[in-house]
């Protein structure tokens, strides 16, 4: 896993809970004193350690923290880059959902070491979709939930995203698409800075 991911989480904790909270998380997770390097590859287990440390320091369940992190990644006004990159997935939220399975490939094109987990979308056809993530980091499903809600908001789509335990014990997301006609999408130009 690229240090970039941990650094993004660091920004989220600092922006949301303040720098001392992050220092406590970093200390508890045993992160290097000089900080995590964005372009260095770290063991996947480190992500789970950081999540566990955040749970302890912030006194909140891990799932909620990770979901907020996902929302932050897409919707924080200072972090427009990822939202824009995700919007290239499609012109409407449905098209975007259809492109989610391509995300690891898109990420690799941008940064070969950015190894995103494989995502599978199952479209039952009745307006309900199921999203599952392949291991090795099962927690990522909660980040995905936050990101999906924020992206739906971005597209002006009305959706209900829920977590559900599958028969195999793995957590999945159910995405119910509601009528999107009355919600306004946030503007998106293909080239940044054009309105």
């Amino acid at each position: 896993m690229l240090g970039l991911v941990i650094r993004a989480f660091q920004r989220f904790v600092v922006d949301t809970y303040g720098a001392p909270a992050w220092e406590a998380v970093a200390h508890r997770a045993g992160l290097p004193v000089q900080g995590v390097e964005a372009m260095r590859v770290y063991p996947d287990a480190l992500a789970a350690e950081v999540a566990a440390a955040a749970e302890g320091v912030l006194g909140r369940p891990r799932a909620g923290i990770l979901e907020d992190f996902g929302t932050y990644l897409v919707s924080h006004p200072d972090r427009q880059a990822l939202r824009r990159l995700l919007r290239f997935g499609g012109g409407c939220f449905r098209d975007f959902l259809a492109s989610v399975e391509e995300l690891p490939g898109r990420a690799r094109l941008a940064l070969p070491e950015l190894d995103l987990p494989q995502v599978e979308i199952d479209d039952a056809g009745d307006g309900r979709l199921t999203l599952a993530c392949r291991p090795p980091v099962p927690e990522v499903i909660h980040v995905a939930a936050g990101m999906l809600r924020a992206m739906a908001d971005d597209y002006g789509a009305l959706v209900v995203v829920d977590t559900a335990e599958g028969a195999d014990g793995a957590t999945r997301l159910t995405i119910d698409l509601l009528d999107a006609r009355f919600a306004a999408a946030r503007p998106f130009a293909l080239v940044a800075g054009v309105h």
Binding site: L4, Q34, G35, E37, A38, M39, A81, L82, R84, L85, F88, G90, G91, R106, L109, A110, L111, A189, L190, V191, A192, G193, V194
Partner: protein
């Protein structure tokens, strides 16, 4: 023109526009009969219908242009540039159609980022098979990654500065630096074992820099560093503490004779000329030393200060020699400084 077979395809303009939003249909005389929806948007404000292709576009390839009739374009890799601003460039190819018409399909190629900005295109302006959106995504992803790399570089730069501040080695000579010397001195004082502190200042060094250049000066400093390393032992500390100033911490040296013997050997070595680009750089050295044993309670600053005073006595006495600090002779008259066995000559540069 091939006769209509069962495999021939007929498309209505809307379907054609969906498949190829950037196409245009040329009449046999080279005038535009129709344009795909995206191309029509880009040509908005010009009376393009019925205009000749060459009025609207500069045909850069093939070079001969439309001479010989539009049909000559078939099979060529086309490169067209819009005549009016923003002079958008297109790649394209032409195929012949029924009735002598020519179907030309265009694409924006690598210029797609600029074209999208200038014509305010959206994803609906491109066919799903067009890689335009992927190209735009990549262009943006690239700039995001560049920002990340810039951040990483900034962090590395800060780390390097911090490391340099904490470094113990002088980068030019590989000797220890002032910080390392301070640490070694404090350790030596704390240990209580005897030691000598020798201060060394080069004579005529400025002349080398002035006459032979700074690279020659650097070569001299490196030669001096080699000389100091050769004449000291592994447990000693050899530090460069200024441009041409050095300090030795000689561990276990309790006798003036021992310190002076080492000093004399150093004087001889430093006085040896340093070859430099067919010429010779010559310096000598002035030394001053103190013994820790001479002090009831040795203090690093005091030791360095007294050794410095002895060094200046060497300078005043004519350079190229070693002088003991005054404190060593508390009971007697000021001791004469001893010139080096091989007296350094004034520079011949």
């Amino acid at each position: 023109m091939a006769a209509r077979s069962s495999a021939a395809v007929t498309l209505d303009p809307v379907a054609l526009g969906r498949l190829m939003p950037l196409h245009l249909l040329l009449s046999p005389d080279g005038t535009l009969a129709a344009a795909g929806p995206t191309l029509a948007r880009m040509l908005q404000g010009t009376a393009w219908r019925g205009s000749h292709l060459s009025e609207l576009f500069d045909l850069r390839h093939p070079r001969r242009g439309l001479s010989g009739g539009p049909a000559r374009l078939v099979g060529e890799r086309l490169h067209l540039v819009m005549r009016r601003p923003p002079h958008t460039g297109f790649k394209g190819q032409a195929v012949a159609c029924a009735g002598g018409m020519l179907l030309v399909n265009l694409g924006l190629g690598i210029g797609v980022v600029d074209a999208v900005r200038e014509h305010r295109l959206t994803e609906r302006d491109f066919a799903p098979t067009d890689h335009a959106i992927e190209l735009l995504y990549l262009a943006e992803a690239k700039s995001v990654v560049q920002d990340v790399l810039r951040d990483v570089n900034g962090q590395l730069e800060a780390a390097r500065t911090a490391a340099e501040e904490q470094a113990l080695t002088d980068t030019l000579t590989g000797l220890r630096n002032r910080r390392a010397l301070d640490g070694a001195l404090a350790g030596a004082v704390a240990s209580g074992a005897p030691f000598a502190v020798v201060r060394i200042d080069l004579d005529w060094f400025k002349a080398v820099n002035d006459n032979l250049g700074h690279a020659a000066g650097d070569a001299v400093l490196q030669a001096v560093a080699r000389a100091l390393r050769t004449e000291t032992r592994a447990g000693d500390t050899v530090a460069r503490v200024g441009g041409d100033e050095f300090v030795l911490l000689l561990a276990g040296v309790a006798a003036a004779e021992e310190a002076e013997a080492i000093g004399q050997r150093i004087l001889v070595r430093i006085a040896a000329p340093v070859p430099w680009e067919g010429r010779e750089a010559r310096v000598s050295a002035s030394l001053g030393y103190v013994l820790s044993r001479s002090y009831a309670r040795p203090d690093p600053d005091r030791l360095l200060g007294d050794a410095d005073e002895a060094l200046y006595a060497s300078k005043r006495a004519g350079r190229g020699r070693i002088t003991a600090g005054r404190v060593a002779l508390a009971a007697g008259p000021a001791r004469l400084s001893r010139p080096a066995a091989a007296r350094a000559l004034p520079p011949a540069q």
